[in-house]
Subunit: 763 residues, 2 copies
């Protein structure tokens, strides 16, 4: 904690925690409107097929059914479902969003692809009606592997992409071919990652209601209310000014709520029936019909000098985009940014392909490709160290970027970089020096221990590719409270608490005095959405500017009351006083009342808008200590040390919460989570068969916060939301190597793979 | 319509009309929350009594009853229920707000005064429980006449006022005694007015819900959400920052929803039961347990020169404040302002008394005492004309105030005054010249016709006595819509439509593009409330400033796009263009997108706050043509001509709506509405016995709009809400005199009084 601040740096419990743990928080699913119907969606049983005939008459006749939709009675518009701003044209890394999605289509492209929808007075009636819909399909050739898909002549998933490439992205910096020719050492490896579900506690849900004026209100669980409005407008063909989006509390997003999903069908059912309609996904549908972290295969080639300096690096990434593009084009683009942004490398080449297959669509998920590319990069760094007999930490320290380094992709210099500190303090905490002796010293009869590490970086904001800004209104009230209208959406990660701290610090009140308005497009000023680890940095800056504006008004009024120049005043703890004579004080309540009810009455209204000029990357180093049972392959993650440069810790406790959550999700990604598929059908579509990390599985987690004081951040802060995910899998893979001497290049790091690798190594 | 404006001056249908007439609008009564209880309140059967014993045990035992409140288990705080800002200290006319109200008290002061409250799972159970509450009263001497109350030794209604005077107000300008001594003519008359109920279509209603965090949300039907929050906080003793007030649509207020009413009991029942509670008044309770326009008795003395110039005027007003002060102190103060503000009179003296009685409390109602004082003043002007043989119109024209005249009470000059125009155009329309021959020419066998007139003035804003300001946020969206966050509350009078027109005019878009946020203390910036005919003037100015701020941002961005200086640009019809080359245009959508998604992204966020420096009075002249059946006394109002100086007609259709509504309420006030009481009990507590003007009763209404272009108003506008009420009763009384030659000085002008007066005159 930095003692120069009153609220910033304090361990403030999340402001919405109490209502959440007592069950008082209302989510979309808790909303019941008079006359409301329940919608259910029929998913395709085939991975790839044409609908030849669809007969809904039996379903329509079922008592209680009020409306049925198929591709024949919905708009046929192709739209892009991504809830993000339009990408920059000509940005450093070109990204495209692909308009390949339809509300309901006559062709289905994955098992679970929506085919029809029903609204009925009860959910079980809607469910029964789905079974009464008679669909005759002509099955088409399906393909599930991106490499096969790129070369398939028999299977074209979208007519606009005959090679099944939804999007490709590439860049070259320097001359990689020449550098490889001249290098002392060349390393070539291929890595594979697995699909991962977001597993938000709250599934996708929405309620739609039309007013008689034709205005549509949508209660949604999404990460960007403004772009939900925009995309929904495009999909259903009504202007955005006829759509109001209200965002109740959200039970987790993790990128999964960054696509237009249930909303178009729900809106059209509401329109057709003239009644409000609610649709809530089942857990199974969360697995089969939403999006996931797309599996990737990553080929790396790295040229290294004998001193261990990275001379040239190339990467080729195939991303399994599944049946629709969703965010995959952007993910594969962002992986290229991460690839080029952590280590100083004069020659870089990147090729990425988002490839259509007949799997569940790949979307946005915490890290946005970073965990995948970093699993490859940070595994390979250890492979290189091993080969060159350089300590992996040393090899990293020789190559990492640092403050002042100009990112070759954005051309922007890094303002703040605490990566070296992260590595050194993390190494100290995990006991890096034990590394060489660990496999012998701590071994049991059948167990071996190991330590591994990985470095990470992540954008704070989407500024390198997308327009990025946030705005806030800040009103100071006659009771000393502060109302904040911010377009930022707190998915549970605690951004509202952090923004409340920033506002409280700026105005000089307790954090409990800051009250947020419900997220609502008709009241909150514009923010682009909750993604890209941007909320504290971009939304926090906007709120700070809004609060600063209000503070200036308060100081001017207090100056009138205290007959002093505003520059001689200070605000803290709900009071404004003369700096040199602190006993000459007025309370903020008195100042607002003076302003509102005295001469020349006026409200205290602040306004802030912020757009980042750079992307203020955060950095981190992750360390893992693991124990492997050599007889069963059972892997126990004993400890994770997560050292992260967050610029400034506005709320250390919230950062620890973020880190612990990311460790939970990262350990699952690294070791247990995957989609088991049979001809496109997901076999493990529930928490019994899809294994996430639960409380008893969790390792000890040590969070080390490094503060590098980002000059462009609010009170020096940068983001921390996503990067923690990225270092866990490679740190564990490297720890397994340290324990067993075997290298596993495919996720998840399951007991089967560990045993298989050990057997292969012993041959 | 002024052709220099695109939207201002147009006949725009009210933006919420369609939803209202189709029944889609939600009011507080339409709100159902899970687990919600229904509250009912027990009113006193006695006009004045002490509660000796109160036994709620039988009620508490009734199945379904969840909580019962009496004076013994509610906070005993005395509070002021008026939802207005604290009055200026030392304002021209001193006003006090009296803290004489308690949530539930051990003494009751009128029939209907709340004694106990019950919350139950169904409304009929709560109703049954009320009957099971055993209350033993000791009856106290009751008094119903203010004059008696001031002299009563036996009945003291509040211990802080042993003479039963809740508040008195007086002023003298010049030397009235001397002026009377020197005058050619002196006139002395006494007038009496009757109580009137607001009769809002929507009765008082509220829903209260506590969050587990202790935060209270109140859905209220009130005219000032911010002061509802403030007064509720004082009454129930929780800080305002723990209270959020949401105002759904409101089905009429007319001043009746300007008191804290059901909310404290509702909040305490919600607190006690841990469940949301709804209370909705029955129509009967609207009559017996809310407030009303307080009956007044008014003694006037006027000294006139032989040329018909008013030399000196005195007034003494007794207002029947009923059991509690409510707004009566302010009403009796405001009557003093009106008394001194319409006619140039060098010597003025005013004495007003708000007097406690055991009747239903007098509160705020459309006109706020203006109809009462004007009934007296404008009746007397005709009596003087008759005596001096001067045409009543001429007498008025000789004495009326005019532009530039300095109001003796506020010291402020009148900026705009179209009163002369109103009189002349109204007289032309009604056919004033027919007046002398009318009673003979148009007489039937038993009917006589007559024409009468009256002048009026009314504050626009409460600036003379209260702090007055409004503020607004205006956001322009990427779809060309404009969101307005205003603290103003539209009670149905159409203020949102007018503000939408102002914003649309300023930004250069269609009025349909302007979207209002729901009134909510946690999102809307501060406004003091809907009263004092202030919303168009004060709220409209704030919104205009906010829109102007947004417009400047738009022009700056458009200037970047069009490579032109912003000062060379114009905005209209959703486009911004170069004035000299209108074909060089960009749409507002393009400008917002450029601003949000181009270089240096920013939202377009406007902010406005306005505080009037004067009270910008409106003026008007009302004319009535009536027909009286001399055998039955039956009065038919044939036609009302209402000529009003509104500064600028932002929406002529909305003004006509206001005028027609006021004529309906004014005709009822003038001729049919009154409280029939028996020992404090109201005998006509419903629409069967309490006669309001209905559609078949309505006269032809001709509205004449005079535009004087108020320099401080938004596009020159002033208010029109209340003054129309004030001229109707005297115009009708004067028309009756014109028809029959009889003068009735007491309202309502019923057939009985007409017959009685005719009989008296013929003797």
């Amino acid at each position: 904690m930095n003692s120069k601040f009153a609220v910033v740096g304090r361990r403030v419990p999340l402001i919405d925690a109490r209502d959440k743990v007592t069950g008082a928080t209302s989510y979309v699913t808790d909303l019941y409107l008079p006359g409301m119907l329940h919608g259910r969606i029929l998913g395709s049983p085939h991975p790839h097929a044409k609908i030849m005939k669809i007969d809904t008459s039996a379903a329509e006749k079922l008592d209680g059914v009020k409306g049925v939709l198929t591709y024949r009675n919905v708009p046929a518009v192709a739209y892009d479902p991504c809830l993000t701003p339009p990408p920059f044209v000509g940005a450093g890394i070109t990204q495209e969003f692909v308009k390949d999605r339809r509300i309901l289509d006559s062709e289905v492209r994955f098992v679970g692809d929506p085919v029809a929808a029903v609204a009925a007075v009860e959910e079980h009636i809607a469910e029964r009606a789905l079974a009464l819909i008679d669909v005759q399909y002509e099955e088409l050739t399906a393909v599930f592997d991106p490499e096969q898909a790129m070369n398939s002549k028999l299977c074209v998933i979208h007519s606009h992409a005959t090679d099944n490439v939804a999007s490709d992205v590439s860049y070259e910096i320097g001359d990689t071919r020449k550098a490889f020719e001249q290098a002392d050492h060349i390393f070539e490896h291929k890595y594979k990652t697995a699909g991962q579900q977001h597993c938000s506690m709250e599934p996708h849900a929405c309620v739609c209601k039309y007013a008689s004026s034709g205005r549509l209100t949508v209660w949604a669980s999404s990460q960007s209310m403004f772009f939900l409005r925009e995309r929904l407008s495009e999909a259903i063909g009504i202007p955005t000014d006829k759509i109001r989006v209200i965002q109740p509390h959200i039970g987790g997003g993790f990128g999964g709520k960054l696509d237009l999903m249930l909303e178009p069908v729900c809106a059209l059912l509401a329109k057709k029936t003239g009644r409000p309609v609610k649709i809530v996904n089942t857990r199974s549908e969360e697995f089969t019909s939403t999006t996931r972290r797309a599996p990737a295969s990553i080929e790396l080639a790295t040229a290294v000098s004998k001193e261990g300096l990275l001379l040239a690096r190339t990467a080729k990434v195939l991303l399994n985009s599944g049946g629709y593009a969703s965010h995959s084009p952007a993910v594969v683009g962002y992986m290229g940014w991460v690839f080029g942004s952590l280590y100083k490398t004069p020659n870089l080449k990147y090729e990425g392909y988002a490839v259509y297959t007949n799997s569940v669509p790949g979307g946005s998920m915490r890290g946005f490709g970073n965990p995948d590319i970093q699993f490859a990069v940070e595994s390979q760094i250890d492979e290189i160290s091993e080969e060159l007999q350089i300590d992996p930490m040393d090899l990293r320290l020789r190559n990492i970027v640092e403050s002042g380094y100009k990112n070759p992709l954005t051309g922007l210099p890094i303002e703040s970089c605490g990566l070296r500190d992260c590595i050194e303090r993390g190494a100290e905490s995990i006991g890096w020096r034990r590394r060489h002796k660990l496999s012998t010293e701590t071994s049991g009869a059948t167990t071996r221990r190991g330590i591994g590490m990985a470095c990470v970086t992540h954008n704070t904001s989407a500024r390198c590719a997308l327009p990025d800004f946030s705005s806030a209104f800040v009103r100071v009230n006659e009771d000393g409270t502060v109302n904040v209208l911010s377009g930022c959406i707190d998915l549970g990660q605690g951004s509202s608490t952090v923004i409340a701290q920033i506002v409280a610090e700026e105005i000089g009140v307790d954090v409990g005095k800051v009250i947020f308005a419900e997220s609502d497009t008709s009241t909150c000023p514009m923010d682009t959405g909750t993604y890209a680890s941007r909320v504290t940095y971009v939304g926090g800056n906007a709120a700070r500017l809004g609060a600063h504006d209000a503070r200036e008004q308060l100081l001017r009024r207090a100056g009138e009351m205290l007959k002093s120049d505003p520059s001689t005043l200070e605000a803290s703890q709900g009071k404004i006083y003369i700096k040199r004579k602190p006993e000459n004080a007025v309370s903020i309540q008195e100042v607002v009342r003076f302003s509102q009810y005295g001469k020349d009455p006026a409200a205290i209204l602040g306004r802030g808008t912020f757009s980042p000029q750079g992307n203020a990357p955060s950095f981190g180093a992750q360390f893992a200590e693991v124990e492997v049972d050599v007889e069963t392959g059972k892997l126990t993650i004993l400890r994770i040390v997560a050292a992260h440069d967050v610029g400034r810790a506005i709320n250390p406790m919230a950062i620890e919460g973020q880190v612990e959550g990311a460790v939970q999700q990262g350990c699952g990604y690294a070791t247990t989570e995957q989609f088991i598929e049979d001809n496109g059908r997901i076999l493990n579509d529930g928490f019994v068969d899809y294994k996430t990390f639960c409380a008893p599985d969790m390792p000890e987690v040590s969070t080390i916060i490094v503060e590098s004081d980002e000059p462009t951040g609010p009170y020096g802060a940068k983001g921390v939301a996503e990067q923690v995910m990225a270092g866990i899998a490679p740190a564990i893979a490297n720890a397994i190597y340290n324990a067993l001497g075997v290298r596993i290049r495919e996720l998840p790091l399951s007991p089967e793979k560990i045993l298989k690798s050990m057997r292969r190594a012993s041959h």
